[in-house]
């Protein structure tokens, strides 16, 4: 339970990080350390080099810009949790963050680390999928942007090259009135969810659902958008019956069997949690609109 030997590098700029990534073989980037450090302690990973991002300048910020939330990759989950901007205009992120690990891990854990570790049950990964977030990546050939839909390429494998690092992520804002909810099921508070559901819905003037985003986490290789469910409810008047019927399609989402739960239990949870999330989102939307 001690990390294996490695060389340690603590660069001060993104340029230095890129230079190190280009030069060093078998290097790992260390962000908040809440996943990599346990993996090092248990020797699940044996890197020759650790590149610590904690002293890199300019990677920790929360900015509202042009209708989007821009977050530096090294921004701590705790800083997002306590951000007034996040709470006011991306409230689902606040709700999700309260379910991310514990205070002690959120104090260190970063958004960039969560996204790159890409645990299929990670709350921030689900939100990035639900918001169609954009990830900014920097490498030797400069900067590029990756739409979050294309970010996960396999189980816990993001679409970034070995010589690249994530520097920021952008969450577009849902304009006007909308409802939201992030619900997860886990055995103990702070554990990784067995299954989670993140829902965002907006209605038009006629009271019909104009836009919907439902993301199910913890099922397969990465959180997935429940597209069939989204399509089934858009254009409809939101009711308990509509949600109940439409959420049944979540039972068809591919799921894994593991020590925590069999696949069919996850699929059952996907249907139940998506319904609860939509009902809660709808109740909040009604409250925001002053209807009861």
């Amino acid at each position: 339970m001690k990390p294996p030997p490695f060389s340690y590098h603590d660069p001060r700029s993104v340029t230095e990080v890129v230079e190190l990534l280009g030069r060093l073989e078998n290097a790992k980037l260390l962000a908040g350390g809440q996943s990599l450090m346990p993996m090092l302690n248990m020797r699940f990973v044996l890197p020759d080099h650790i590149i610590d991002l904690n002293r890199v300048e300019g990677l920790s910020y929360i900015r509202e810009n042009d209708g989007a939330l821009e977050i530096g990759a090294m921004t701590r989950q705790r800083d997002l949790e306590y951000s007034d901007v996040v709470r006011a205009r991306w409230p689902i992120m606040h709700e999700a963050l309260l379910q991310v690990g514990h205070r002690q891990t959120r104090n260190r854990g970063t958004i960039g680390g969560s996204l790159c570790h890409l645990d299929p049950a990670a709350e921030l990964v689900s939100l990035a999928a639900g918001y169609d977030a954009t990830v900014t990546v920097v490498g030797a050939n400069g900067q590029r942007e990756i739409a979050f839909g294309e970010f996960p390429v396999a189980y816990m494998t993001p679409a970034i090259e070995a010589n690249e690092l994530v520097t920021a992520v952008r969450f577009p804002q849902w304009k006007g009135r909308y409802g939201y909810a992030f619900i997860e099921f886990s055995r103990r508070h702070g554990d990784f969810a067995i299954t989670s559901a993140a829902a965002l819905i907006a209605t038009n003037g006629g009271g019909k659902i104009a836009r919907a985003s439902v993301t199910i986490g913890g099922m397969g290789t990465a959180p997935v958008r429940a597209r069939e469910l989204e399509q089934a409810i858009v254009g409809q008047i939101p009711t308990k019956e509509l949600f109940g019927d439409a959420c049944e399609s979540c039972r068809k989402i591919e799921a894994i069997d593991d020590v925590h739960a069999p696949a069919n239990y996850r699929q059952h949870l996907a249907a139940v949690l998506s319904r609860r999330a939509l009902e809660k989102a709808h109740a909040r939307l009604a409250e925001a609109s002053g209807q009861h």
Partner: protein
């Protein structure tokens, strides 16, 4: 021997300078090199919370940090909580009075966690206390007396008009 680095840091108000192997965790450095064995190691992979310390005032699991990362930073461990060698912190006093520990192994991590928590939330509900310690495993007490002690400490601190 592996790669080493010189670091300097402040722990419980005292300045330390030392040389450390870069792969050594902050928890092992605090215990093995600084001799501050109040910080306990249970699981060594970030689950049990026994090694919780305050890093620049924020609670963190010291088994999930490298000692080199503490260079230039300020730490508080359980040894630094009490105001003097003859006096307990009101939170420690409440744990004593309400039997908030049996074997005491998890206690340092719980105390450091709660110091930060009570600073942020001086008047918590029982549920908030339970969530605050959800990242700390105790195998003796069943948590009940830990929660009772914390609520009593919060009340006491408010009466005294001091922050945790």
């Amino acid at each position: 021997m592996g790669e080493k680095r010189k670091i300097s840091l402040t722990v419980n108000g005292k300045r330390y300078e030392d040389e450390v192997e870069v792969r050594v965790t902050l928890a092992d450095f605090i215990r093995g090199q600084l001799g501050l064995t109040g910080t306990h190691l249970g699981c060594e992979h970030g689950v049990c919370g026994a090694c919780t310390i305050l890093f620049d005032g924020r609670s963190a699991r010291s088994c999930l940090m490298l000692a080199v990362q503490a260079d230039g930073h300020e730490l508080l461990t359980v040894e630094g909580i009490a105001p003097s060698p003859d006096e307990l912190h009101p939170l420690q006093q409440a744990f004593h009075e309400h039997h908030g520990l049996q074997c005491g192994f998890c206690t340092p991590g719980i105390l450091t966690t709660l110091i930060e928590f009570l600073r942020d939330n001086p008047d918590p509900t029982e549920r908030e206390v339970r969530i605050a310690i959800s990242g700390n495993l105790c195998r003796c007490t069943g948590y009940q007396n830990i929660v009772t002690a914390t609520l009593a400490a919060a009340k006491k601190l408010q009466e005294l008009g001091t922050r945790a």
